[in-house]
Symmetry: C2
Subunit: 432 residues, 2 copies
């Protein structure tokens, strides 16, 4: 496949700063970028895509979400975290595979059409989400979650082993090890989960230090801060992926750096659920920790658009630091290059040999003008939304083309609405 | 005009809470809503618009912007306020009427197509912006600004008098009195400006307490906090419209309440410029002060989408208060009903006799699903963006119809880009 005459292309320099290419061709062979240059010769049988009115970005990773929860968008909104969570758990007891399928499909339609190429997911019935992801061609990193307050860890363990067997070797769907949190799982469970992650070389994905309540109760129960606890029980490693970290100490940041764990910032969800705190983006970035960005579930965000998330990340960080030390390029790098590093895929950047996961923005969008090379990164982060995405390529395949797919997906979303709302309205009536 | 079978309609109850109507017809005669009901009879010659796949909202007021600054979107980004301002002023000395026309047009295209029905503007050459506003049919509240560090107040005064004469009685363009700030104007100038506002029954629109620097210098120079100073020199009244207020004391909130002045919150711009502080939304709302929302200019935001602004307002406030006391409905009311109250137009609500300024959202947008009556307000504020707007009616006229206008406006935005970038690139080269 030949992406002809790409108007503006965002790549990353060795030193981590953005490097913009103008008017280049990009050749994709199989699932990789083969070469980049001016006026490449078209090879026989090669498909050519005109990119003269497109901006080409590396793939974008939503590093923390609960995709099927899009079905609960706007449900019981405007509550604080722990109250909201108990209301949500009430509904979740009634979910079935069909509802998960609908939620997953709606979420994947939203993510793909707003430029997400891969997502790290934590939810029930992950085999259903995995099937939908394969159908649409998006990269999904997921597994049945350990959440002992709801499901016995033996049951989860069995399901996880099945899941790992089923998806080992899949191109798009990759197993991880999901652990809800230290307040819903025992130490033994977390340790067992981390062992499985190490044995199978998988990511262990866990919520940590999201609320003051969590930190307070951890300190009371274990005499330690949450990240300290994870370190002391031996589950902090290069395989560990920590989400939220709104209430961490400098000592805990040091432990993350020391062990090579990675982290995800979910600014919108944290703000919306009023968890307050301060994700120490700058300190972590300066220590070389892989900082990534996630939307969290649509039930607490309430959208899955990574462009909106990137902007809010900068805004929140500047509000916290009282200065502009966090720049647009930092969050764009977190969402692309760092995301792919966490996934252990050589992507999130554009260059020969990189995986062919690309997001294209419409150069002529009203909302990006007047766009130029010198304001490109700013306008991507502060002005664009996912609605400016005109095409998404994953693993060398065009999985979203706005002209081809948007109207059809819109119609599909309408059908999904009808079915989901029948369930939710019935549930609400029964539980009044 | 008959809006037939509006699927969901947002109106405001007497007590200020939202009241949702389902499947109603709305009749518009001239520039007002005449009646709302089920199965209204179509009158001879009446135009009918099918609204069965639309959500109808009251008009939305962008209560503080500098619309032509969209031309500087992404220019010198990532600086803090006072440094950024000096770089921007450097370019602004070279602006001419043509550039203002292009900037105004790009801004108005963006605002209308994202659901803004009226805006309060502060910038140079307002007669140009006014002409573009009339051409597109959007309500504009503007005037030449008093900014003594750049323009003598005599010159501004003359221009203001001309402007008031020209636009008194205009249906869409209304003069206001723009005063940049107490750090760019003398006390005498601010007092004179307020007198003109009172004499002509106009809004006096002024930036106040945006940064710590401003507050510190005001306290040093005058021995008073900025709002206190305005009160003591007699310019705080029902006509006064105060913007930003990131650093105000309880005493100042009390003075605003006492005098009936109105206020605007610009969360994105404040966060992006790292002015920090805390706009006391809840305290002001509880005291009955008219709180409104504004995007500020696109050079500091960098977008003019009021839906994105509403969401960020909730997020920032929750991050400040560490709880969820600010709800989606509060900011929606601030952007609609309160906005129109500040403009002294009986709108921002939907009911017989109200002005016919309406914003319609696409009910079938992927990003709002699964939408229902009970999650409508949440999904409007947290999930929608201006891109979900499918139609805008102002003063009883359809001024934006996505199917009719979007593609054409996109083409126009592209042309504007070419011309603006020629100027900016030349400027940057000359000032390297």
């Amino acid at each position: 496949m030949l992406l002809r005459n790409c108007r503006l292309v965002v790549t990353w320099s060795e030193d981590g700063s953005p490097r913009i290419l103008e008017n280049v061709d990009i050749r994709i062979r199989d699932n990789k970028i083969e070469e980049i240059g001016r006026d490449l010769n078209k090879e026989t049988g090669e498909e050519e895509i005109d990119c003269s009115r497109r901006i080409v970005l590396p793939g974008i990773v939503n590093a923390h979400t609960h995709s099927p929860m899009v079905m609960l968008r706007g449900y019981c909104d405007d509550l604080e975290l722990h109250e909201w969570l108990s209301r949500v758990w009430e509904v979740e007891r009634h979910l079935d595979e069909r509802l998960i399928e609908l939620g997953s499909e709606l979420a994947i339609i939203e993510m793909l059409s707003t430029g997400t190429t891969a997502f790290i997911d934590m939810y029930f019935y992950p085999h259903i989400t995995a099937q939908v992801a394969k159908k649409y061609g998006i990269r999904a990193f997921l597994s049945p979650p350990f959440i002992e307050v709801l499901i016995s860890s033996d049951k989860c363990l069995k399901e996880l082993e099945d899941f790992i067997r089923t998806y080992s070797g899949d191109r798009l769907v990759k197993p991880i090890v999901n652990v809800h949190s230290i307040y819903t799982c025992s130490i033994e469970c977390v340790k067992r989960a981390h062992e499985i992650a190490i044995e199978n070389r998988l990511i262990m994905h866990i919520h940590v230090s999201e609320t003051r309540k969590e930190v307070y109760e951890c300190k009371k129960k274990y005499g330690k801060f949450p990240v300290e606890l994870l370190y002391d029980i031996g589950v902090l490693s290069e395989n560990t992926h920590l989400v939220h970290l709104g209430w961490v100490t400098s000592r805990e940041i040091e432990l993350i750096r020391e062990t090579g764990a990675s982290v995800t910032h979910c600014p919108v969800s944290n703000m919306k659920l009023a968890t307050a705190g301060f994700f120490p983006f700058y300190e972590m970035m300066m220590q070389g920790i892989r900082v990534t960005i996630g939307t969290d579930g649509a039930a607490s965000n309430n959208c899955l658009d990574m462009f909106r998330e990137m902007k809010t990340a900068v805004l929140l960080q500047r509000n916290n630091y009282w200065d502009t030390r966090i720049k647009a390029s930092h969050v764009l790098k977190a969402a692309t290059l760092n995301g792919y590093r966490v996934l252990r895929i050589d992507g999130g950047d554009i260059g020969p040999g990189k995986i062919a996961d690309l997001v294209m923005l419409d150069l002529d969008s009203i909302y990006l003008q007047p766009i130029r090379e010198d304001n490109l990164i700013s306008n991507i982060v502060y002005s664009a939304t996912g609605r400016d995405v005109s095409m998404v390529i994953i693993d060398g395949r065009v999985v979203y083309d706005r002209e081809r797919d948007l109207e059809r997906w819109r119609e599909r979303a309408r059908e999904i609405r009808e079915e989901l709302n029948r369930f939710i309205e019935k549930f609400v009536q029964a539980h009044r």
